[in-house]
């Protein structure tokens, strides 16, 4: 296990100025970190705690499950020590009705109106069930929840969720846990471009470049879990993701160069020296075509 010596000090990132002056807001709550994490998949609470700290996250999801009377150690203790806001989810729900009851139980258990709404169609793909999802979003908004909706990479559905009152839309990059990255960058960019609420790329992230790409496409934040918790070194991957999100966001704000089919010299042709009199070098490059 690689430990603290490989983890950059937060100041190393904050020191560039642009990273710290770029908060984003969900439902009036401002976040400095644009990396939202899940807590699933870690080998134990200690690994999770170190990974969360390294990631710099300020918002993290939890699930609700039947009490295990034999379970030891409280996840909430870990999250309190790290100092993150807890976001209960509705993972495992298949219908709007189940999602509403689960969300209400999450509100009761954790004292928050915030919920990550998940309504999945089947266990094989864990893809959102669009019909139940939209129905659930409407029910939860009516019930006073701040809804962050996990959704497909479908620009039309994202707008419907926004109109239903969701505080954020969270399109998947790829199915949950696959690590396949952003499978439809065009749709993600379109969702981000048209949304009036924050867009969080949620699910499918496998490694740092995936998270950076999501930010470059215009997403406001990235939500990931097992990319960090199931990495061989979760703490180091937490650090990697923190930097990836910062880098991707900075690149987005900086404005990338257009992609071109042919080369464009970065050194001027003007004043180019002329050598010899034969061979391919005899023609000034600018005249070659």
């Amino acid at each position: 296990m690689v430990t603290t010596q490989t983890v950059a000090e937060p100041a190393a990132v904050a020191g560039d100025g642009t990273a710290t002056a770029d908060p984003f807001t969900i439902a009036g709550r401002e976040f400095t970190s644009r990396l939202i994490t899940g807590t699933g998949g870690a080998a134990n609470h200690d690994v999770l705690e170190r990974a969360l700290r390294a990631s710099g996250t300020e918002l993290t999801t939890v699930a609700l499950r039947r009490v295990d009377p034999a379970a030891r150690g409280s996840l909430l203790d870990v999250l309190e020590r790290v100092g993150v806001q807890v976001l209960p989810n509705t993972a495992g729900c298949r219908t709007a009705r189940e999602a509403l009851l689960t969300a209400r139980l999450g509100r009761e258990a954790l004292g928050t109106d915030w919920v990550k709404l998940e309504v999945v169609a089947d266990e094989e793909t864990l893809l959102p069930d669009a019909v139940e999802l939209l129905d659930a979003a409407e029910l939860l908004v009516d019930d006073g929840f701040t809804v962050l909706a996990y959704t497909n990479d479908d620009p039309a559905l994202a707008l419907r969720l926004e109109r239903a009152g969701c505080a954020a839309v969270m399109p998947l990059g790829a199915p949950i846990g696959t690590g396949l990255g952003v499978l439809n960058p065009h749709n993600i960019a379109l969702i981000a471009e048209r949304a009036g609420v924050p867009v969080v790329l949620d699910a499918g992230i496998g490694t740092a470049s995936d998270a950076a790409l999501a930010m470059e496409l215009g997403c406001d934040a990235v939500l990931l879990a097992t990319a960090v918790t199931r990495a061989q070194d979760p703490e180091l991957m937490g650090t990697a993701m923190r930097h990836a999100v910062l880098a991707g966001r900075a690149a987005r704000r900086a404005g990338r160069i257009p992609q071109r089919a042919l080369a464009q010299a970065s050194s001027s042709w003007a004043g180019l020296a002329q050598f010899g009199s034969t061979g391919s070098g005899s023609t000034a490059p600018g005249e070659a075509r």
Partner: protein, 76 residues
Amino acid sequence: MTATDGQVEVLVNGEVLRVPAGSTVADVVAGFAPGLEPGRGTAVALADEVVPAGSWGSTTVSAGDRLEVLQAVAGG
């Protein structure tokens, strides 16, 4: 469901539990998961409705009731 010895059967997280008639949600939870505190990451549903932590002690269970006793765990 109501036994002759003054006990009733309720279903807690899918398990049949025999509790004294007139037991409250707080009683049932204490018997099922000793030490579990209301609030603090826990929630109870009785017949698919949330029982607020403040009502665990005043909500009685009846024979055949279904309770789900849940807590926040790693996920998502």
